[in-house]
């Protein structure tokens, strides 16, 4: 080849077959190199720990809101588990939003066309995004929730308030179930992000339809609807997180777990089916 070209040679790099593992590595680089990932992770940890601890301090009388208002009494009425998991309930919103953004972000920026040009089979991109998202969120959420459980119970105990122990019947299930619910909603958000391809729309659907609608429906619809409403994602999850909503008709924890899992599978399968057919 001629020696004097203005363009340096392209080099002779050898590429390798695009396997699921390589796509996963690619998605891992993507999620790790976005600053928003780590800001959101910090927000999750902070929400779970800080609000759990504050809630426990209020319930134990260490601090009293509005000069000894009804806060302490109400916190006590919720039960010790719900008290220490107050922050975990807040983290549901953060993780659901994070999942929606993880799913829809590339469609909004146009990056998805670069991703699909590198992986034209497309499905490995969805699987890898799910795995990378779970790999970041699951340990953070699970460790924070377990941590706030022991921290919160210690605060309640020190303040002479009622506590429950990890080994008590259903407690471990509720605490770990809470972590499963939080991460599961994130995964549902990610799948809906792939389906709707718009961050705003998916956040709206996940927060509105998945989290708030069931609560609103149980409040507004006659109780004859409870038989149906208990199958909605957040109500099904309440059956195994067992931390609030006293008085609503709920599934048994085991069935609730299966129903909530079915919602996750439904969202992911829906995203996978649509992904292959649609123009990107």
């Amino acid at each position: 080849m001629s020696a004097s070209t203005a363009v340096p040679s392209l080099g002779s790099v050898e590429g390798h077959p695009t396997t699921l593992l390589r796509v996963l590595r690619s998605e891992w680089i993507k999620i790790r190199t976005l600053r928003s990932t780590w800001i959101t992770v910090a927000a999750i940890v902070l929400a779970i720990l800080l609000f759990g601890v504050i809630s426990a301090m209020v319930a134990s009388g260490d601090i009293s809101p509005q000069g000894g208002g009804p806060g302490a009494g109400r916190a006590r009425a919720l039960g010790p588990l719900a008290t220490v998991l107050a922050g975990a309930n807040l983290s549901v919103l953060i993780v659901a939003v994070m999942g929606s953004i993880a799913g829809a972000r590339e469609f909004s920026t146009g990056m998805i066309r670069t991703s699909f040009s590198a992986v034209p089979k497309r499905l490995p991109v969805l699987w890898s995004k799910l795995i990378a998202f779970t790999a970041v969120v699951l340990p953070v959420v699970a460790i924070s929730i377990v941590l706030v459980f022991f921290l919160g119970m210690r605060i309640l105990d020190a303040g002479g308030a009622a506590t429950v122990a990890w080994s008590d019947d259903g407690v471990a299930r509720s605490v770990l179930g809470m972590a499963y619910y939080v991460v599961g909603l994130g995964i549902i958000g990610l799948a809906i992000g792939f389906l709707l391809r718009s961050t705003a729309a998916s956040i709206g659907v996940v927060i509105g339809a998945v989290i708030f609608l069931p609560a609103l429906a149980s409040a507004l619809l006659p109780s004859s609807w409870d038989e149906v409403l208990k199958y909605l994602p957040s109500n099904a999850a309440t059956a195994f997180t067992g931390t609030n909503q006293v008085g609503t008709t709920l599934l048994t924890p085991g069935i609730g777990f299966l129903v909530f899992t079915a919602w996750i599978v439904l969202a992911v399968v829906g995203a996978a089916l649509v992904l292959g057919r649609r123009d990107a």
Binding site: M1, A6, L10, G15, T18, T33, L34, T114, R277, A280
Partner: protein, 308 residues
């Protein structure tokens, strides 16, 4: 090698691409020309597997791109320069893309150096100018050292230096035996880089010819002559198949004759000439002529039959 067979793509009622077939061979730069909305990007998206054809096929190296084992090593493409995540640096963007074919840092740094982005590799791609984004898009296309390179409007937003760079790059890629398929609406640019042209208008192939063949296809071949005795020359040249117009009193524009013939006639009658020129149409003019219909009717709602 890219092969497109009877490709049709409809979006609802709109037919973006209407049964087109063509082959893009390796070793040369093939230009893909057409006015905006002609179907260039749709065709490229179908080749990449981003859009599913309504009917027909598009293959890369003999098979659908979706079936490629290491896609980035077969076809490197840039459709939109801005198709990057704005929260990530150029280097991390390339690292993520290159990871799909198991390629790492050394190669990414090499390609960043090659496209001239080494200095801004750690800057957020979201803050890039169009020209820098264009270079990052080209880096993304080339990082896997692909045998087929497909670029949609690569000179968009580049400064003169960048345009020269792209021109040399495309030629080098072709010399190296790669298949190079480049779309543009900048005819002058294609004239300098492409050896073969595929012209598309309203979703149909209007021409699939070599550059020389394309220019020769045009009927606008004419002779321009300046003479103080223009009106006498005009009478002498008039004849069947010859059209003469006179934009100024001393100038003639002659269709259907040649410069040597005009010169001989003038000499034989002692007519003084101040200028005599054979005007071959530029690619720009040939293109305008070829696509005039497809542009004119672009805004109409009439059916294909009525428009034709």
């Amino acid at each position: 090698m890219i092969e497109v067979q009877d490709l049709t793509k409809r979006y609802g009622d709109v037919t973006a691409v209407d049964g087109i077939s063509f082959t893009v061979p390796p070793g040369i730069v093939t230009g893909f020309l057409g006015p905006n909305g002609a179907g260039k990007s749709t065709t490229m998206r179908a080749i990449l597997g981003l859009d599913r054809p309504t009917s027909g096929t598009a293959t890369v190296n003999g098979r659908s791109f979706r079936d490629a084992t290491a896609p980035l090593t077969e076809l490197g493409a840039m459709l939109e320069a801005k198709a990057v995540d704005k929260g990530r640096s150029a280097r991390n963007h390339l690292l993520a893309v290159a990871a799909t074919i198991g390629v790492g840092r050394a190669r990414v740094d090499e390609i960043l150096e090659m496209v001239g982005l080494a200095d801004v590799a750690k800057k957020n791609a979201g803050g890039f100018s169009l020209g820098m984004s264009q270079r990052l898009g080209i880096a993304t296309a080339l990082v896997g050292n692909p045998g087929v390179v497909m670029l949609d409007e690569p000179v968009n937003g580049l400064d003169p230096d960048g345009i020269l760079w792209i021109r040399n790059l495309l030629k080098q890629l072709a010399v190296e035996g790669r298949t190079v398929f480049v779309s543009s609406h900048l005819m002058s640019e294609m004239e300098l880089t492409a050896e073969h042209l595929i012209v598309i208008g309203r979703g149909r192939i209007l021409a699939d010819v070599s550059m020389e063949g394309f220019i020769a296809m045009s009927s606008q071949h004419r002779v321009i002559v300046d003479s103080p005795d223009a009106s006498r020359l005009r009478d002498l040249l008039a004849g069947p198949g010859v059209t003469i117009t006179s934009p100024e009193p001393s100038r003639l524009e002659i269709d259907g004759s040649t410069a040597p013939h005009v010169g001989e006639v003038a000499a034989a009658h002692g007519i003084v000439l101040h200028q005599l020129a054979d005007i071959a149409p530029s690619l720009e003019e040939a293109f305008m002529e070829l696509t005039a219909d497809s542009v004119t009717f672009h805004g109409s709602i009439s059916s294909d039959g009525a428009a034709a």
